[in-house]
């Protein structure tokens, strides 16, 4: 043969002489089936190959997104004491070059970061900040700080005038009145020693437009200030500035420089700040005690320069810096590092870990069904080839030769399909990964040859049932034992996976809360066991169904035999016969169940996101009113309430980090002062959980103000006595009488009734407005006040669009669709596999006088029972597993909720799974019937089909 000799030299040393004409002939005869298997391999390879690189890309995006969202929490701060300025005569010496010291300190800190961390951070901002002072006029608590800012881009510190002389390194400003602060002493007195205890030293500061307006001050004016000890400070306004870029991260170190900040120094307080220049910084130093000014360098992470890979090293470096920090009590100039960046990165890591694990759960499901479909396809192919294989055996082909021929064919098909899938994956996403593809390719390579060789071996074996009764029983027992052992193995694996999932959760151990940041790399899940729990559970459940099915169908057959419909028995009898074959039903039920699982996961996460957005915003819309406009909040609330489509509006005073003493510990909960009954009505108008305990807040009895509390860590409990600390006013005693509703995403919350609190001597100034109702978003947006508007729709949209979330939700959909498609393919393959016997029965019935249209009903009667079982049991099984396992999948990390979202059943989508399967039967039956009708009975009978 030319083939063997020329084109395939391998044949010379290959011990098996392959029969090339057979190989090619077989492949050509079954090209359709082989192409089908190839298509399954290619599609699943594309999916399984694309997900890991997509996940990696998404992980990078997620890290950047997370760092961006973390805002100030991700900043790296380093602090060091300033050198002492004691003079020889017991006084203090003015240090005119203090700004340069600050720059030196900033450079030293920058050096210590090390190259890796430094590359991920923006140029630093050095700050010097004074203690908080009180503004002495006015009744409400207003505080003031002096702050010096110096950006680390090589220039000196202090405010930079736009376009003007550019010697300062502070954020750019425009002077709209006066000018930058100047030294308070003439050049000659620069190094003079001043007595430690003297009259207040003058300091010049600049105010922002907003601060100046709120304080009603002009350049040259003196700000009436004193410190905690009651010492007067002489602070003069040199000028009024407008920031060129108010989003410049430099301002983050002292936001009060830009505009008044409410609540920073206790409930009802407002903080202002004045900007120092390099010239006035030495004066500020002398105006305060030796160690009163804090010198801090702030590094803000640059999200675009942090990747998933570099995040590891960054987190470790940050942890190391913090661990080696000098103690805060140390009096030397050693650096003390402070940052939440490691925590931020750990959270993102946990999120990415959770998303990878969830993705691996979905992928495992798809791969399981794909492998089952490939087994089914191989089985079908071997059935079609059985005569040819038998003939080959009878011609004398050796089994190993046949096996090698089949293996060659399946390997070529599977590998080229997988290569096509991977190439496609590489074309549409940034890469392709082959690890997840392996099981599918392996199944595609091995299944066909294994089944084929077995069939060929069986063809030549004596296939008569043993005559001996005991021998027959033995043979039957062996088969049953083998099956039972297989089922037991799957069941044990499923239980083990379930237990592993429940005990360890889906998160890799290192990512679990409290785990180390430096964990394993980005993998899909922590070992295959927990991630395969749903797939194994579904397979185990299906095996149970398979055990019950024959008994169930037997009952149906009994009924059909007695049924008034004379034809029912034929379909049912066929169904009983086909139900003995496990693979088709296994494919149908597992695909329906896992598709339902994916849909339930998607719906649960989607609802969780919606719920999370409700909780974050607290209503359809929220207004965070700036302190300056707070007085008009009640009027604003009334205006919004009057707008069309607004159902409930509540104004409240919300203060973060209120100082509350509970069990002699100071905690910083979010304090919400609100009209309790209105708040309850608002909650009732939203899907947020009702808080009946709010009704208890109005009750005044024994002096204490009733309060509701909630706390993530149990620091605040019902029944506790709390002291609400106030600056310059008596403490208010609270009694926790119940559990507070969640207010935003704060961990600790204290809710009190506004009227009750006012009666106890603390009036409130509302700074937050919640509005619920379909028109709320529009009404709030149209209110045009000086306030931050937070719309629930926006929050929800942003969360849905977050890289990990959108990626996983998409994967859930794609998996569900792929699973359903595989299930329908399995249905078609199963129908094709049972077609010869069904057609034979129908032909025989036709010779008995069965009408062609009745033949269709009998075919439907045969195909329908297993599909009905799958259409009903599949979604039920999927939902059951979701019920058992979703809790362990840490969906909260995806939805941004405090707790895992409650299970949501997507009824109509589950119904769609059911309908799709039933419709598929309604399509398969007429197609098959049309195919059947193309041939005359005489031909079918002659061809051996009768």
């Amino acid at each position: 043969m030319r083939w063997r000799a020329g084109l395939w030299p391998v044949g010379r040393w290959w011990p098996l002489a392959l029969h090339w004409p057979s190989v090619l002939g077989r492949a050509r005869a079954d090209a359709g089936s082989l192409l089908l298997a190839a298509a399954v391999v290619a599609v699943v390879t594309l999916l399984a190959g694309a997900v890991p690189p997509l996940l990696r890309a998404t992980a990078d995006e997620a890290v950047q997104d997370g760092v961006r969202r973390a805002g100030g929490d991700g900043d790296v701060l380093v602090e060091a004491r300033m050198e002492r300025d004691d003079g020889p005569n017991g006084g203090r010496v003015r240090a005119p070059r203090l700004a340069e010291d600050v720059d030196d300190f900033r450079d030293r800190a920058t050096d210590e970061l090390g190259p890796g961390l430094r590359a991920a951070l923006r140029p630093p901002v050095a700050t010097v900040i004074s203690p908080t002072l009180k503004i002495t006029d006015g009744s409400v608590l207003r505080t003031f700080q002096l702050a010096y800012l110096a950006k680390g881009d090589g220039a000196d510190g202090g405010p930079q005038a736009d376009g003007a002389d550019d010697s300062d390194g502070g954020p750019h400003v425009t002077w709209i009145a006066g000018g930058p602060p100047r030294p308070a002493v003439p050049e000659a007195d620069n190094h003079a020693e001043v007595p430690a205890m003297g009259k207040p030293r003058p300091v010049q500061v600049a105010l922002s437009e907003a601060d100046a307006e709120a304080l009603k001050l002009r350049p040259g004016a003196r700000i009436p200030l004193k410190d905690d000890a009651g010492n007067i400070k002489k602070v003069l306004v040199s000028g009024i500035f407008r920031p060129t870029d108010s989003t410049d991260s430099a301002w983050r170190s002292a936001p009060a420089l830009l505009r008044p900040v409410s609540g920073a120094d206790g409930v009802g307080s407002t903080r202002f700040a004045g900007l120092l220049s390099p010239g006035s910084l030495p004066d500020a130093r002398l105006a305060f005690d030796q160690d009163a000014l804090r010198r801090v360098v702030r590094f803000t992470p640059d999200p675009s320069r942090i990747t998933w890979d570099s995040a590891q090293a960054i987190a470790s470096k940050v942890v190391a810096l913090k661990a080696n920090s000098g103690s805060s009590g140390a009096l030397d100039g050693s650096l003390k590092w402070e940052t939440g960046l490691d925590g931020v990165l750990r959270n993102i890591r946990a999120q990415v870990g959770a998303a990878s694990a969830q993705a691996s759960v979905l992928l495992t499901g798809v791969l399981t069904v794909a492998v089952l479909v490939l087994l089914l396809a191989a089985d079908l192919l071997v059935r079609r080839r059985a005569p040819a294989l038998e003939a080959a055996r009878q011609r004398g082909a050796a089994l190993p030769t046949l096996a090698a021929e089949l293996l060659l064919e399946s390997t070529v098909v599977a590998l080229s399909a997988a290569a096509a899938g991977l190439a496609l994956s590489r074309a549409v996403v940034p890469g392709a990964s082959w690890e997840w593809v392996l099981p599918v390719v392996l199944a595609a390579v091995v299944a066909g040859p294994a089944f084929g060789t077995l069939a060929a071996a069986r063809a030549t074996r004596d296939r008569r049932v043993p005559a001996n009764r005991t021998a027959r029983r033995w043979a039957r027992h062996t088969v049953q034992l083998r099956r039972a052992a297989l089922e037991a193995a799957v069941l044990i694996a499923a239980v083990a996976a379930f237990v592993a999932l429940h005990q360890r959760g889906i998160l890799p151990a290192a990512l679990a809360p409290g785990g180390d940041v430096a964990g394993p790399g980005l993998g899909l899940g922590d070992g295959p066991l927990p991630a395969s729990a749903p797939a194994l559970g579904v397979v185990a459940g299906t095996l149970v169904v398979l055990r019950l099915l024959p008994a169930g169908l037997g009952l149906v057959l009994k009924r059909a035999l007695r049924s008034r419909r004379p034809l029912a028995v034929f379909g049912t009898a066929r169904a009983v016969a086909t139900s003995a074959r496990a693979l088709p039903l296994l494919v149908l039920v597992t695909s329906a169940a896992l598709a339902s699982f994916a849909l339930t996961l998607d719906a649960t996460a989607g609802d969780g996101l919606a719920e999370g957005a409700w909780r974050t915003v607290g209503a359809d819309a929220r207004l965070d009113v700036v302190p300056a406009a707070a007085a008009s909040t009640p009027a604003l609330a009334r205006r919004i309430a009057a707008a069309p489509g607004v159902r409930e509006v509540v104004a409240a005073q919300v203060t973060d980090r209120a100082r509350v003493v509970a069990d002699s510990l100071v905690v910083g909960p979010r304090l919400v002062i609100v009209d309790a009954s209105a708040f309850r009505r608002l909650l009732a108008a939203t899907p947020l959980p009702d808080a009946p305990a709010l009704a208890r807040l109005g009750a005044t009895g024994h002096g204490d103000v009733p309060a509701l509390v909630r706390s993530d860590d149990g620091g605040l409990r019902s029944g506790m006595r709390l002291d609400l600390l106030r600056d310059g006013a008596p403490t208010i005693r609270l009694t926790a009488v119940g559990t507070a509703p969640a207010v935003g995403d704060a961990g600790d919350v204290v809710v009190v009734d506004a009227a009750t609190l006012k009666a106890a001597g603390m009036p409130s100034v509302p700074n937050t407005v919640w509005a619920a109702g379909p028109g709320a978003a529009r009404a709030v947006a149209a209110s045009a006040v000086d306030a931050d508007t937070v719309l629930r729709e926006d929050v929800l949209r942003a969360r849905r669009a977050a890289p990990l979330t959108s990626g996983l939700l998409t994967l859930a959909w794609v998996s569900a669709a792929t699973l359903l498609a595989l299930g329908l393919l399995g249905l078609a393959l199963g129908a094709a596999a049972s077609a010869p016997e069904r057609w034979q029965t129908l032909t025989r019935l036709r010779t008995l006088g069965l009408r062609p249209r009745d033949a269709r009903w009998i075919a439907a009667g045969e195909l329908l029972p297993p599909v009905m079982v799958a259409a009903v049991v599949g979604p039920l099984l999927g939902v059951l597993l979701a019920r058992l396992m979703l809790g362990s999948l840490a969906l909260r990390l995806l939805t941004g909720q405090a707790a895992d979202p409650a299970l949501v059943l997507p009824w109509w989508r589950l119904g769609l799974v059911t309908v799709a399967l039933l419709v598929a039967v309604a399509v398969v039956v007429p197609i098959e019937s049309a195919l059947r009708r193309r041939r005359r009975l005489s031909e079918v009978l002659r061809a051996g089909g009768g």
Binding site: L561, F570, A573, E837, T841, L845, R846, L848, L937, S938
Partner: protein, 234 residues
């Protein structure tokens, strides 16, 4: 029709042609075949392999359509019937016995025999009675609940004969019913057919290779290369 139904032949075949393929490779399986069959007779159809026996039986039973010619079974023109008409013909007038038995493997012997009665929508009680009777007739009353796979070849063919008789057809067509049976079993199956022709009053057209079977036939029709070549039974 003016003729008395009793005199009328049960089967009339006139000028039947059946050709497979076209052009030079066409096979003329039947060429101008015409004959009549009287009711209540057992007729053997013999001929060499490939002579056209199966083709003729298929055309008569409506499983195949001739290119020209007509076939009348009990007055009904088989060649003019549509699919539904043919189905009714098979339910009511013509039944088949095949060389490969043609039983439905997933049904028991009794259910196989009852199948034509189900198709004819006979009430269940009547059906069961008739099935019992027929199984008795073919001597398989004890095997009623066995599946075809659990019966011997001869037993299977007996079930097939019982099934063919179930709906009381006028014409029973059997295409080499003993082809897969050993000589002794074959003879007993033929004897059974002979017996039911007598007891049930059906007309049987039986193709066979086996000359020893000819003794049981009332009449023998021989076919040679698609052409009829009749000779009377000895």
């Amino acid at each position: 029709m003016s003729a008395d139904p009793a005199d009328r032949p049960l089967l009339t075949v006139r000028g039947v042609h059946r050709r497979f393929g076209s052009g030079p490779t066409a096979v003329h399986a039947l060429r101008d075949v015409s004959f009549d069959l009287a009711a209540g007779t057992m007729v053997a159809l013999i001929g060499r392999s490939g002579s056209g026996k199966t083709t003729l039986l298929n055309v008569i039973g409506g499983l195949d359509r001739p290119d020209s010619g007509t076939v009348l079974v009990d007055g009904a023109d088989v060649t003019a019937l549509d699919e539904d008409g043919l189905s009714r013909l098979r339910r009511e007038k013509v039944s088949y016995v095949f060389q490969t038995f043609g039983l439905i493997p997933v049904l028991s012997a009794a259910e196989n025999v009852g199948a034509p009665l189900r198709l004819a929508r006979l009430p269940a009680a009547e059906r069961e009675r008739r099935v019992e009777l027929l199984l008795e007739l073919v001597g398989l009353a004890d095997h009623a609940q066995q599946r075809p796979g659990e019966l011997s070849g001869g037993q299977q063919q007996r079930v097939a004969i019982a099934r063919a008789l179930a709906a009381s057809p006028r014409l029973l067509i059997a295409d080499e019913p003993t082809g897969q049976l050993d000589a002794e079993t074959g003879l007993s199956v033929m004897a059974l057919l002979r017996g039911v022709v007598e007891s049930e009053g059906v007309t049987a057209l039986v193709s066979t290779h086996d000359p020893t079977m000819l003794a049981l036939a009332d009449r023998v029709i021989q076919i040679n290369d698609g052409r009829l070549d009749e000779r009377e039974a000895s």
